[in-house]
């Protein structure tokens, strides 16, 4: 359930291997008829003779619904239903395909996943092709975080339908290396660390300056300036669009402020000058070349993966300066589907608090249904790799504090160009923040201009 489109690129090799594997499976699959109900549905107990309805779910990446056993559980409860999932590894490939399928009304799965950066474009341009899920029995608006619910709902001018039900979100903490903090004379206890910068991103910068003064050469405080920028903009109540849907990133002081603050990390030499989700970034985790990274809940598993067993008990996670969100997904139900009504029921069930809690327990995807935070599997969750950090508590606190920000149709394009053009020029090419900003604005103007 990755979250930024570009998070996918890192899986190049995995994709290649997977593609080879898929090809093999396809060849194998040709040998038998996969659609035959009595051999294709081991979990559904379909032999009772009840008419079978096959629901398809289209997702990108390792979404986790299947892996957490949710489909199997639903099929066991509903013997007449069989669920099949199709997955496309990268959202950059998945999303344009979803758009063309919605355009032609064919080739669609009964349920389709949508990434948070695309949801505004979906609600603004595709709402008439999707079911209003707010009216589906079992969907309770009050169970969701208000800002997440708002993201999946079209504006009143577009009919006000809630076409996307939230799955996970990405509330952020700050992951830090205890051993490096200790060597630099900073506190290592996660409460004390969180207190270092509580309430103000500028204090995070100050902590970085203190760290650098003591840590010496070759040790950076953050992984990348763009990571800081994503975290700071994610905590802002207004970002790239205003409430009327106008693009305001150029004039919004919060965006420029976040850009300049993040740029200070680069110009002060506090950044390891890495680009996130590249092989070099991965190597940075295992080599300990930076002391902190803004980490959404979904990134913990990634860090554990890349830092390896040697990093156990070195990493910990503290509260971020301000509540901030990075990433998350939605489920939508196209009207063109053959079993739209059954699909809506399934989507409602998959995103209900209990199922989101299970997804968190099994896969680490943090629930967007705040009702799930009271469940013991969430509230009591600890992460053994991160020194037993109470991640349920930390991320729930962050999630509930995230402001309701208007998301716009081109959020992804704006965020990507700010990070990959503007901030990267400052961080890696040593350009001035002003030059980086202007380059980003030029690229965004070119991208947004019709």
């Amino acid at each position: 359930m990755r979250v930024r489109a570009r998070a996918r690129v890192r899986r190049t090799l995995a994709t290649t291997v997977a593609a080879a594997g898929t090809a093999a499976l396809l060849l194998a699959g040709c040998a038998q008829d996969p659609a035959s109900p009595d051999q294709g549905a081991p979990a559904a107990g379909a032999s009772g003779g009840a008419a079978q309805t096959t629901l398809t779910v289209g997702v990108f990446g390792a979404f986790g619904l299947q892996e957490a056993g949710l489909y199997d559980a639903y099929m066991a409860q509903n013997p007449g239903i069989r669920i099949e999932q199709t997955s496309i590894e990268r959202n950059e490939n998945y999303y344009p395909q979803l758009l063309t399928h919605l355009g032609t009304g064919s080739g669609l799965a009964d349920i389709q996943a949508v990434e948070v950066n695309n949801i505004a474009e979906i609600t603004a341009t595709q709402a008439d092709k999707l079911l209003d899920l707010a009216k589906v029995p079992g969907v309770d608006k009050a169970a969701y975080l208000p800002w997440k619910w708002a993201q999946g709902t079209a504006s009143a001018a577009k009919g006000g339908a809630t076409v996307g039900l939230g799955t996970d979100i990405g509330p952020q903490g700050i992951c830090y290396r205890k051993d490096l903090f200790e060597a630099a004379g900073l506190p290592t206890d996660r409460t004390a660390v969180g207190a270092l910068w509580a309430g103000d991103w500028n204090k995070y910068l100050e902590a970085g300056r203190t760290y650098k003064a003591k840590a010496g050469e070759g040790k950076a405080f953050v992984d990348s300036a763009s990571g800081v920028m994503a975290a700071v903009t994610g905590s802002s109540a207004q970002r790239f669009y205003d409430d009327q849907g106008k693009v305001v990133y150029k004039t919004n002081p919060a965006v420029r402020g976040a850009f300049d603050l993040a740029a200070s990390f680069a110009t002060d030499g506090l950044s390891a000058k890495l680009q996130q989700f590249t092989p070099a970034w991965d190597q940075g985790f295992s080599n300990g070349s930076f002391a902190t990274v803004s980490c959404p809940a979904w990134m913990l598993g990634y860090i554990q993966d890349k830092a390896g067993p040697a990093g156990k008990d070195k990493w910990d996670v503290a509260q971020a300066p301000k509540p901030s969100n990075w990433g998350g997904s939605f489920l939508v139900v196209p009207k063109a589907g053959k079993h739209a009504e059954e699909a809506a029921k399934l989507a409602a069930w998959l995103t209900a608090p209990a199922q989101q809690a299970k997804l968190f327990e099994k896969r680490g995807s943090f629930p967007s249904a705040s009702a799930a935070y009271k469940l013991a599997t969430v509230s009591g969750a600890q992460h053994a790799y991160f020194g037993g950090a109470p991640i349920g508590e930390i991320f729930a606190k962050a999630a509930e504090g995230v402001p309701v920000a208007a998301v716009g149709p081109k959020d992804l394009v704006i965020a990507q160009n700010l990070a990959d053009i503007g901030m990267l020029q400052v961080d890696q090419k040593g350009r001035s923040p002003q030059e980086g900003w202007e380059a980003a604005v030029k690229a965004i103007d070119n991208a947004l201009d019709q």
């Binding site: 190049t12 950059e92 680009q275 190597q283 990959d420 053009i421």
Partner: protein
């Protein structure tokens, strides 16, 4: 009477029936997309709603004229194309010459030079990204071992283009070498014998016998490589693992193929992307025309 007429028809029309499938498929998957892309290039059309097209005439093309990102991509495509094609064909020619000697296990070497071509771009590029890494890459490690400073391969304009070209060279040299080898084996042995009698060294033989005999083949590989270089896409896309189609923070290695992809599939402007696709097509036609003129003149002068 009837029989002989049918025989004549058969003789006359059967060949057309045999080649028809290709042209049907070409019409469906080659010609139609080409024309449709041309049609889309004259409209403003977004991937979010591909059915609603607004006629804008040649505006998508005229705006390319003022589009600095387009010119930047075109410039990068030309430099990366030269940086990769020229050494690639030179190395391939030399390699083919070596393979043309009587070697022990020559079949092994011939298969070996082709293996890079058989490797997937994705897998190969991933390895090259690691090799060209700024902090822990092997190339920089080797450079610093012999006393040079580390190079930021992804961020430098020339450095990044050189790195991308390396991947292209690595992948396509063996392929071209085998084409040259096949052509070399058709060169009559007597030419070499008489050259040797005249006292020509191996290198002189290569220069004065092999290369002139290979001229049509060299022209062919130049054409194919130019088409490949103009459409260069996979290597630069994957070389910047994080940013996708931007081709680096300064667009320093964004090729036309990447810019087309960025406009169409990241920014979702299908009309503009189609205009770039047609511009690429026209550029190729221009190059082909120029090459034809050049070749024609050369043949005249002979």
């Amino acid at each position: 009477m009837w029989r002989s007429r049918r025989y004549r028809w058969d003789l006359r029309w059967s060949p057309y029936a045999f080649v028809a499938p290709f042209f049907l498929f070409f019409a469906a998957f080659g010609l139609f997309p080409l024309l449709y892309t041309g049609w889309a290039a004259l409209h403003q059309v977004e991937l979010t709603d591909p059915d609603s097209m607004t006629w804008v005439g040649l505006r998508n093309f005229t705006r390319l004229w003022d589009d600095e990102f387009f010119w930047n991509a075109l410039r990068n495509t030309v430099t990366i194309g030269l940086l990769s094609t020229v050494p690639q064909l030179a190395i391939a020619l030399g390699l083919a010459h070596l393979l043309n000697y009587r070697l022990r296990g020559s079949a092994f070497f011939r298969v070996a030079v082709l293996t890079p071509y058989a490797t997937s771009v994705a897998a190969a590029t991933l390895v090259f990204v690691l090799l060209f890494g700024r902090d822990y890459g092997m190339v920089n490690w080797a450079l610093s071992a012999v006393g040079f400073g580390a190079v930021d391969w992804q961020n430098g304009t020339f450095a990044s283009q050189l790195a991308v070209s390396t991947i292209v060279i690595w992948r396509w040299t063996g392929y071209n070498a085998l084409i040259y080898l096949a052509a070399m084996q058709a060169v009559p042995g007597e030419l070499y014998e008489s050259a040797a009698l005249d006292g020509a060294s191996r290198f002189q033989q290569f220069l004065h016998v092999t290369v002139p005999s290979l001229r049509p083949t060299i022209f062919f590989t130049c054409v194919v490589s130019t088409i490949g270089a103009t459409q260069l896409f996979g290597e630069p896309l994957l070389f910047n693992g994080g940013a996708g189609a931007t081709g680096g923070s300064d667009h320093q290695f964004q090729t036309l193929g990447l810019y087309l992809y960025e406009q169409g599939w990241v920014n979702l402007h299908l009309g503009r992307a189609s205009a770039i696709a047609w511009a690429m097509f026209l550029i190729l036609l221009l190059i082909a025309g120029a090459a034809r003129l050049l070749r024609g003149r050369k043949e005249d002068s002979r």
